[in-house]
């Protein structure tokens, strides 16, 4: 009896450092401030790596803060550019969120953007509807085209279990080639020799609200509100969480699982289509051959970093837009290829994904008495 109490109260024998053994344990739960700290640390590590790469690529270290923060946020013209860039970014980010909430790897965001842009351009080229209705019609066409381009991979997945990662990616390549067919072919601007469509008329372009701030960002925020309502308040959103948690149980209690998945992924395609419309009718003012590049990956990245939350996605999308604008300026001033932006995004994703390990596991020292 006394012996056991002695054993319990005695401090564990101090082991020499090298003889200590550790084991990996799965953590049940980590309080959210700690989670936030781990993720912040991961982002910090990622940013440090990116900074090192940027300096190695020839950007002076003293200029980095200037390029990324001062130039983009404190300069009125660049701030407008960031907000303008953020609009399609928010939409592809939300498109990613929607698809992932239905557990559907929609890697076809670029293809759906292309079709959205093609739909909108078709309305402009063939002058459908009166001028007042032209912009809404273009947007509607973009929504329909984006949805239609998503339909095949959803049905293939639900009916035949065809892997949607591959099918959506293949459809991207097909859409990109079709876009080239149009802008080098029948839709080419006859007035010059570049691969793009004739420019949109003034009433077919997204107007500025005031002082050069484009209406696109308002549209994007409206869409954020709508998706927030969809996932947070509407009945469909509740069903969707149910389907996400356990599709079989959801089906058993009468939730229309297939309809929910189809509807949500179609919504994702529609959002990507609208993003395509925003880029063509806002930034470019015509259908160009490579307007979509970089958005597909960014959309997935935004959804991943935001954990499929619409509000978080909007914030992350703003930051990514800032990165895009800064990346373009680096391209001009330091001849850094735009691929740098993609590399930075990939590094950040890898770091944040890695941080999950530290949230879910912990190291524990094996005490002398333990097995």
């Amino acid at each position: 009896m006394t012996e056991t109490t002695l054993q319990q109260t005695a401090p564990p024998a101090r082991q020499p450092l090298l003889a200590r053994r550790y084991t990996l344990e799965i953590r049940q739960q980590l309080a959210w401030p700690w989670q936030a700290l781990v993720i912040a640390l991961a982002l910090l590590v990622g940013l440090a790596i990116c900074t090192a790469i940027l300096i190695a690529a020839g950007v002076p270290a003293s200029e980095l803060l200037n390029e990324f923060i001062v130039q983009t946020l404190l300069d009125a013209q660049n701030l407008r550019a960031v907000l303008f860039q953020a609009a399609p970014m928010i939409m592809v980010g939300l498109a990613g969120c929607m698809a992932f909430r239905a557990r559907f790897w929609n890697l076809g965001l670029e293809g759906q953007m292309i079709w959205g842009a093609i739909g909108a351009t078709a309305i402009s080229l063939f002058e459908v509807g009166p001028p007042v209705l032209r912009l809404p019609l273009m947007m509607a066409a973009a929504i329909v085209c984006g949805m239609l381009w998503t339909l095949a991979p959803i049905l293939l997945k639900l009916r035949l279990k065809v892997n949607e990662i591959i099918s959506t990616l293949m459809l991207n390549y097909i859409a990109a080639n079709f876009l080239l067919h149009l802008v080098y072919g029948s839709w080419k601007d006859p007035r010059d020799n570049f691969p793009y469509s004739p420019p949109f008329k003034a009433f077919e372009r997204l107007p500025d609200l005031f002082a050069g701030y484009n209406v696109a960002i308002v549209l994007a925020l409206l869409v954020t509100g709508l998706t927030l309502w969809f996932v947070g308040i509407s009945r469909a959103g509740l069903y969707l969480r149910f389907v996400d948690a356990n599709p079989r149980v959801a089906g058993a209690v009468g939730v229309p699982v297939r309809k929910m998945i189809i509807g949500t992924v179609l919504l994702s395609g529609a959002l990507a289509g609208v993003a395509g419309f925003v880029v063509t009718a806002g930034q470019e003012g015509r259908l160009t051959q490579s307007f979509y590049q970089g958005y597909g990956f960014s959309g997935i990245l935004i959804a991943f970093l935001a954990r499929n939350n619409p509000v978080a996605a909007t914030v992350v999308a703003l930051l990514i837009a800032l990165l895009f604008v800064a990346g373009r300026s680096l391209q001009v001033f330091y001849q850094i290829p735009f691929a740098m932006v993609q590399l930075i995004q990939a590094i950040l994703v890898i770091c944040v994904a890695s941080s999950d390990f530290f949230i879910r596991h912990r190291l524990r020292r094996i005490q002398a008495g333990d097995r």
């Binding site: 099918s167 072919g185 990939a346």
Partner: protein, 308 residues
């Protein structure tokens, strides 16, 4: 007739990258690791090969470096999926995007873009190369013949050796394999690195021997086609080889038809490999054949602490 001869002659050149990448993927996925990163690793192999070729001009060494570079980058993937246990789909996608960014950045910064290199001389296998019609099939660069050897080596390794048996056990049922004293993580690491070397070789082949120059994103989705090839080959090397020949044949047909003066809308022709991939995937899925040949633990991280 001439068209047929030239088509047959050029088909292996297009089929080899698919075959090598698919073999690498099968090696990795048979160990239970879902390898979506092929597109990225091919780009790494391609860039490394071109860099070496521009520096020294020795194709053998360049291709070796392709393999080494891809194997090195795959260590990052191994770190993500084996040590940090990140979802393998996310890790694979992140790897592709990382490699795309890295290679197009380096290609531009180092000035390797659009600089032509010399490839390898074709080697004739004498009596066979004199045959009518199919003769051109036996007038290929050495790596085509080497690919055949690699293919048999991988098939032998997977299906006729103890090592292959253990590797497949790790992919089918890691718990049982672990209980039997097989190092699950060790085999998976080896499979990732070995598979990546083959995928890198595929990329090096495209850049150094086929296209003979570096262009950003030059693999153009071939890595993804290889991924789907492995799915509809149901992880069998033989069926994957047949698929590689099919896709190689289709890709080889495009320039031959153009040379023969057949007028086709260019961009629709460029769509065909992707469209065919979709069609074949759909067709195979409709066939309702047993999907039991998928490695049982594909895509699932093995976590000993969660052992049941």
């Amino acid at each position: 007739m001439d068209l047929l001869t030239h088509w047959l002659g050029s088909a292996p050149d297009f089929a080899v990258p698919f075959a090598l990448a698919a073999l690498g993927l099968i090696l990795t996925e048979r160990a239970g690791v879902l390898a979506l990163g092929a597109e990225g690793l091919m780009l790494v192999g391609a860039l490394a090969g071109i860099g070496m070729q521009l520096a020294l001009g020795l194709p053998g060494l360049s291709l070796l470096l392709s393999m080494l570079a891809a194997a090195l980058v795959s260590l990052l993937f191994a770190l993500m999926v084996l040590v940090l246990r990140i979802n393998q789909v996310i890790a694979g996608l992140a790897l592709v995007f990382f490699c795309q960014g890295l290679t197009s950045l380096l290609g531009t910064l180092l000035g390797w873009t659009n600089r032509p290199v010399s490839g390898l001389q074709a080697v004739q296998i004498w009596p066979l190369s004199e045959l009518p019609v199919v003769g051109k099939l036996f007038e290929q660069n050495p790596l085509v013949y080497l690919t055949v050897l690699i293919f048999f080596a991988v098939v032998w390794l997977l299906q006729r050796t103890h090592t292959g048996l253990r590797l497949r056990a790790v992919g089918e049922n890691p718990q049982a394999a672990d209980a039997a004293g097989i190092s699950v993580l060790g085999f998976r690491l080896a499979a990732i690195v070995g598979g990546a070397a083959l995928i890198g070789l595929a990329g090096g082949y495209i850049a150094v021997l086929s296209t003979k120059m570096w262009i950003a994103d030059m693999t153009g989705g071939r890595g993804w086609i290889a991924v789907s090839l492995v799915i509809f080959a149901r992880w069998s090397p033989w069926r994957a080889l047949a698929g590689a020949l099919l896709f190689g044949g289709i890709e080889a047909l495009i320039p031959q038809l153009a040379a023969a003066g057949v007028r086709l809308p260019q961009y629709f022709v460029l769509m065909t490999p992707y469209a065919v991939t979709l069609l074949v995937m759909t067709w195979v899925a409709m066939g309702k054949r047993a999907t039991g040949s998928q490695p049982g633990a594909l895509g699932e991280p093995y976590i000993r602490e969660e052992r049941r």
